[in-house]
């Protein structure tokens, strides 16, 4: 589980800042011509296919992807599970913007461009012309508004229980939505929030066909019609989801005609399926087996950027952890090289600070915050009079966490602390994590659902969030007010370069002045693919996102 | 005679049983009233299943009676709280039918006797001597104390069981068929031992047996039971020489008595009666339970249950048509 689903975005603690000039973002137009080409191709195929159609269907290449689970409910605004809410959603749905995890900036998707008002409070999105949903309903500003109103309007009859989408878009900072003209959709904000473009690429921000909403209402989940690269052909819960390429996709019809998301929860079963060719792509195989898989002819391990971070939260309200020298000592006392080697079998990297190298906000200078220096750590502990202090660390008891816990415990005990670790089931872990009275040190995982530099800041480390108030309790620190201001200022900056630089400084400030978090390691989900497949977006798959529209078979 | 040592009034025992899917009750002991006087031997006889053991145990409240009262030396045992009852218990002892089950196989004889002695307050130091004396009383060697029950024969075990009962210092002993599991050769020894001890210690004895002939020799009074009821109660002489109840007569006839002709007559009479098993305990018949086997049955025997009443012989019997006083068996 990523923390992404547990923590919600702040609800408007953004400070005012001087608005920059309005700017228009105009993407290259190549995608459209590709889409037209695709349409022509599909039409000609349809015309020619009459008697051979079934034959032709069977000739379509099928790509198989492994799912951890599948409930068969694709309601984007509630959390069902990774299988439904992330993997399937990314294949079926698409929103106004897209982040492909190569380019650190948001790219146009269903919106072909956007205008931001001078005060940063109004975002006007121009909808790409000529697009339809999977069910043929045309996409216009009114259709887009329908999907967004469903997040905000509590009386919308199609709104599901426990809808969390608005929180992930910006909560009460989102004032409302307007249809400016046929093809122009507007989002109104209370405070500037430059992160919103990235947020619009989340899987819960996908657009839903108004015709499907009319027909199915709250039951739209099993009958989702969106506008992503693939549309639903058949669903067998707990077994498989069969998808077919959508010829109206804005980037053109995906080359692989059929995509099967097959439930294979067991890593061992995934490995044998990969080896036998029954499975083409998976990101669920543990790091420990990657070297072994890579040696096999039929399988290739893609290089992914490390977007998944493991951090050590230090509760500044708990005993000796209130002393920044102790927190600095702990940060210096973590042997990150050993963690990369022993816990991740080399499939990870030593971090800088909060933002990983592949995101804006990272600067090589941050590497100094992840240096292992046990002697300096011991000296700091001595200075603080905290040698031999007993500390408790809480960790989940699944996945790589127990191994990570043991190495962190070992290296902290090596600098003169006495750390014991409680390995807990998910429920107990969360209960203690979110209670500042119930933990001292705790592991925290953060993956990038969208690689916006703010993805790890305003949802986690601003006053009022569970992260800052309960997990690290850093809201108690005097420097927190300045941190809040810095984050708000960065999110009011709509120039991407300038904004990125502000996040570089935010990382430096929190590390140098506060140190409530020790960055431990950055890793990725190893992406294993068949050798005859190329164009797989490995960076996205390495951090739970599933963009398979670019994949094609070479053989 | 003086006030009775033990008197039971309307004492009855019913057991809940399952008859198919129904819950039912069987009457193991119909409400019974009788008295035991100090120093006497009361014999309780009857065939198997007639309720002798139930009566013997209920008298001591070792089974929980469903109704009635037990007055022991003026105290109502049924009204006592558990603790008070336990304090009284050593004065009422029991000797069991099966000498193989009545001694704890894991304890040495010394331990068995020692803990009873300890329970009745004999100081630890005195217990070994007392135990040896008890062994001598029942005719066993003192070195038996170190052994476990498995090392002894049935007769020896019964002596040990008697010693255990004596160790508690009782006033009343209920001996439940103490000899029926023993070889004929040792039966007499055990009976004589009991008689001697009773006389020597002034005990009151309730002696349960199915052997009317043997009981006649030792009992002062005899209660005859049939189907959970006392059907005849009288002195040993009355019951054995001039039985009033047809069932008592039948029991006497089944004993190896010299009067062969009389026995034959009774047996033939019983055989001539319609063959019937014991009546059902769950659905007891309306009239006299002995009716199905009774050679003297009358019409009203089928409808009116007989109650104990004075017989021509001066005893008590529950019969509408008791045997005539002179023991005439001719029809």
């Amino acid at each position: 589980m990523t923390q992404d689903t547990r923590l919600t975005a702040p609800t408007g603690a953004h400070a005012l800042s001087t608005p920059t000039g309005a700017r228009t973002f105009n993407p290259p137009t190549g995608a459209i011509s590709r889409r037209r080409f695709g349409q022509m191709l599909a039409l000609s195929g349809l015309a020619a296919a009459f008697p051979w159609r079934i034959e032709a269907q069977e000739g379509v290449r099928t790509m198989v992807f492994a799912l951890p689970e599948l409930a068969g409910n694709f309601e984007p605004h509630t959390w069902v599970g990774f299988g439904d809410t992330v993997h399937a959603m990314d294949c079926i749905g698409r929103g106004l913007t897209h982040m492909d995890f190569d380019n650190p900036l948001p790219q146009p998707a269903i919106a072909e461009s956007w205008d931001i008002s001078d005060d940063g409070l109004t975002y006007d999105f121009t909808i790409r012309a000529g697009l339809t949903f999977h069910d043929g309903t045309p996409i216009d500003a009114a259709a887009v508004k329908r999907s967004f109103d469903r997040m905000k309007d509590e009386d919308d009859p199609t709104r599901p229980d426990l809808s969390f989408a608005l929180d992930n878009l910006g909560g009460s900072n989102v004032l409302g939505f307007d249809v400016v003209d046929d093809m122009t959709f507007r989002i109104n904000l209370a405070q500037p929030d430059a992160a919103i473009l990235g947020r619009l690429s989340r899987p819960d921000m996908i657009l839903i066909s108004p015709a499907a909403l009319d027909e199915f209402g709250r039951e739209v989940g099993p009958n989702l019609a969106s506008c992503g690269p693939y549309r639903i052909a058949s669903v067998t819960p707990n077994e498989r989801l069969v998808l077919e390429a959508f010829d109206g996709f804005y980037k053109g019809t995906p080359e692989v005609g059929r995509l099967v998301l097959q439930v294979i929860p067991e890593p061992v079963a995934q490995m044998t399926s990969l080896a036998s060719g029954d499975l083409n792509i998976t990101n669920l195989i543990p790091h420990s087996n990657i070297d072994r898989l890579e040696a096999m002819d039929a399988i290739r391990i893609e290089q992914s950027a490390a977007f998944i971070s493991a951090m050590l939260a230090m509760n500044v309200s708990a005993g000796v952890l209130g002393d920044i020298r102790v927190r600095r000592a702990i940060n210096l006392g973590i042997d990150r090289e050993a963690i990369v080697r022993e816990v991740f079998f080399g499939k990870a990297e030593v971090p800088g600070y909060i933002n990983p190298a592949a995101e804006q906000g990272f600067d090589p200078d941050h590497l100094r915050h992840s240096v292992y220096d046990p002697d300096a750590a011991r000296a700091l502990l001595e200075e603080a009079g905290a040698v031999g202090a007993e500390l408790n660390l809480i960790s989940e008891n699944s996945g790589f966490w127990p191994r990570l816990g043991q190495v962190v415990e070992r290296s902290l005990n090596g600098i003169g602390l006495q750390v014991t670790t409680d390995y807990l089931d998910g429920g107990t872990f969360n209960a203690r994590l979110f209670d500042r009275e119930a933990h001292e040190l705790a592991f925290l995982q953060r993956s990038a659902f969208f690689p916006d530099p703010d993805g790890r800041w305003s949802p986690l480390f601003m006053t009022g969030t569970a992260g800052a108030d309960s997990i690290t309790a850093q809201s108690d620190l005097p420097e927190q007010a300045q941190l809040d201001e810095m984050i708000a200022a960065a999110n009011a900056e709509s120039d991407p370069e300038a904004r990125g630089q502000m996040f570089v400084e935010i990382n430096t400030f929190m590390a140098d002045e506060m140190m409530p978090i020790a960055a431990v390691v950055n890793t990725f989900l190893p992406v294993s693919v068949s050798t005859d497949l190329e164009g797989v977006n490995a960076n996205a798959l390495g951090t739970y996102r599933t963009f398979l529209e670019g994949a094609r078979f070479t053989g | 005679m003086s006030a009775p040592l033990l008197s039971v009034q309307d004492l009855g025992v019913r057991y809940p049983v399952r008859a198919g899917l129904r819950r039912a009750e069987i009457t193991a002991l119909a409400p019974t009233t009788l008295e035991l006087h100090r120093g006497e031997t009361l014999a309780i006889v009857g065939e198997s299943g007639s309720g002798k053991t139930t009566l013997g145990r209920a008298m001591l409240r070792l089974v929980e009676p469903s109704q009635g009262h037990i007055l022991f030396d003026g105290t109502d045992l049924c009204a006592l709280r558990p603790r008070a009852l336990r304090r009284l218990r050593p004065r009422l002892q029991m000797v069991f039918q099966d000498p193989y089950g009545s001694l704890n196989p894991r304890q040495s004889i010394g331990t068995i006797l020692g803990s009873v002695l300890g329970h009745v307050g004999v100081p630890r130091a005195e217990r070994p001597a007392r135990a040896r004396a008890l062994m001598a009383d029942v005719g066993l060697d003192a070195d038996a104390l170190s052994r476990r029950p498995a090392a002894f024969s049935g007769g020896q075990r019964q002596r040990i069981a008697i010693a255990r009962a004596l160790a508690a210092g009782p006033e009343l002993i209920v001996a439940d068929e103490p000899i029926s599991a023993l070889d004929v050769s040792v039966q007499a020894q055990v009976v004589n031992l009991l008689q001697d001890l009773k006389r020597a210690r002034g005990l009151t004895l309730a002696f349960i047996s199915h052997d009317l002939g043997m009981v006649a020799a030792i009992a002062d009074r005899i209660a005859v039971m049939y189907f959970g009821q006392v059907v005849e109660l009288g002195t040993a002489a009355q019951v054995t020489h001039a039985p009033a109840h047809p069932y008592t007569r039948m029991l006497l006839a089944s004993q190896p008595v010299p009067d062969v002709a009389r026995a034959r007559a009774t047996i033939r009479a019983a055989a001539a009666a319609p063959l019937a098993d014991l009546p059902s305990q769950i659905a007891p018949p309306a009239g006299c339970p002995f009716r199905s086997r009774c050679p003297r049955a009358l019409g009203r025997c089928a409808t009116d249950p007989p109650t104990l009443g004075i017989t021509p012989q001066g005893a008590l019997a529950a019969c509408h048509n008791p045997e005539p006083a002179q023991g005439d068996t001719t029809e």
């Binding site: 543990p286 072994r292 022993e342 816990g405 043991q406 070992r410 014991t420 | 336990r86 089950g101 009545s102």
Partner: protein, 298 residues
């Protein structure tokens, strides 16, 4: 007479006598060794677990060398684990939770379940009915789930694991003790004890208990294997001792992830669990056989 001996001798399918090539003495010796084997294995495991601090070449929780050294590496005959800890030392120490927990849990279950069952069997009546229905309810609860709840409530530790496993075994002993005690309570010596005026507790402890202890002990031996497996399963689920302390069940789980890379990481602890459980259950069977054989125990 000759004909007769022929018929008694073993024959092949065609009815011809087969030579008895195994003299009785040899057969007996082989059987004797086979019977002794499980006892030897169990004893060995216990000795290894107890002497682990003396026998283990390395500290089982400290990194001793490079991670994932293969079997028969220099200085590490069983290799090292993914954190570079000596696997032989971890296996030796890892025996301890399984053995101590299984023996401790069975002991605890025997004590508590035995007492519970004796009360139920001797008191009889409504008390018996209520106590046994409670056991029925308890038994209808999945063992592992119940244990997980206990451990979630108490937190993972060797003692709590023991309690959880004991809880899972409690009904076995409660029922057996109840049946045995009820059988004893119907015997006249218990009635005699009541006639003397002994208190119920004394009757249960001094009279009934000594007579049912042996079958309970035999039962205990035969469920140690089950307890060991339950303990291993719970540790596998991460509910056992607190890492980094070694524990066979958790070692299987940690090793399972490496099953392609270094299969011995999961197989060795798994094998140890299986061997111990199997040996213990053979020992239990032998005791149970002796109990039912004429002239045997009880």
């Amino acid at each position: 007479m000759t004909q007769r001996t022929h018929e008694d001798a073993p024959q092949d399918a065609a009815g011809r006598p087969v030579a008895r090539w195994l003299p009785g003495a040899v057969l007996g010796a082989v059987l004797g060794v086979l019977r002794a084997l499980p006892w030897a294995v169990v004893t060995l495991c216990i000795v290894l677990a107890v002497l682990a601090p003396a026998l283990a070449p390395f500290n089982p929780v400290a990194s001793a060398n490079a991670p994932l050294l293969p079997l028969w590496s220099e200085g590490h005959p069983m290799g090292t684990d993914s954190l570079g800890r000596d696997q032989l030392s971890r296996l030796l120490y890892g025996l301890r939770p399984m053995i101590f927990v299984s023996l401790g849990a069975v002991g605890l279950a025997l004590l508590v379940g035995g007492a519970y069952g004796v009360v139920s069997g001797v008191q009889g009546g409504r008390i018996d009915w209520a106590l046994m229905r409670a056991v029925d309810v308890f038994m209808s609860f999945p063992i592992i789930l119940a244990a997980i709840l206990v451990l979630a409530a108490l937190g993972p530790s060797m003692l709590n694991l023991t309690i959880a496993v004991a809880l899972s075994q409690f009904p076995i002993f409660a029922r057996l003790a109840r049946a045995l005690a009820a059988g004893e309570a119907a015997r006249d010596y218990v009635l005699a004890a009541r006639a003397v005026g002994y208190a119920p507790l004394r009757i249960m402890v001094a009279e009934v208990l000594p007579n049912i202890v042996r079958p309970l002990m035999v039962q205990a031996t035969s469920v140690v294997a089950l307890a060991a497996l339950t303990a291993a399963a719970l540790s596998y689920l991460g509910l056992g001792v607190r890492p980094p302390a070694p524990d066979l069940g958790f070692m299987v789980r940690e090793g399972q992830e490496l099953i392609f890379l270094a299969p011995e990481q999961a197989l060795l602890p798994g094998l140890l669990i299986a061997v111990f459980a199997l040996a213990v259950s053979f020992c239990g069977d032998q005791l149970a056989d002796e109990r039912t054989r004429p002239g045997g125990l009880t």
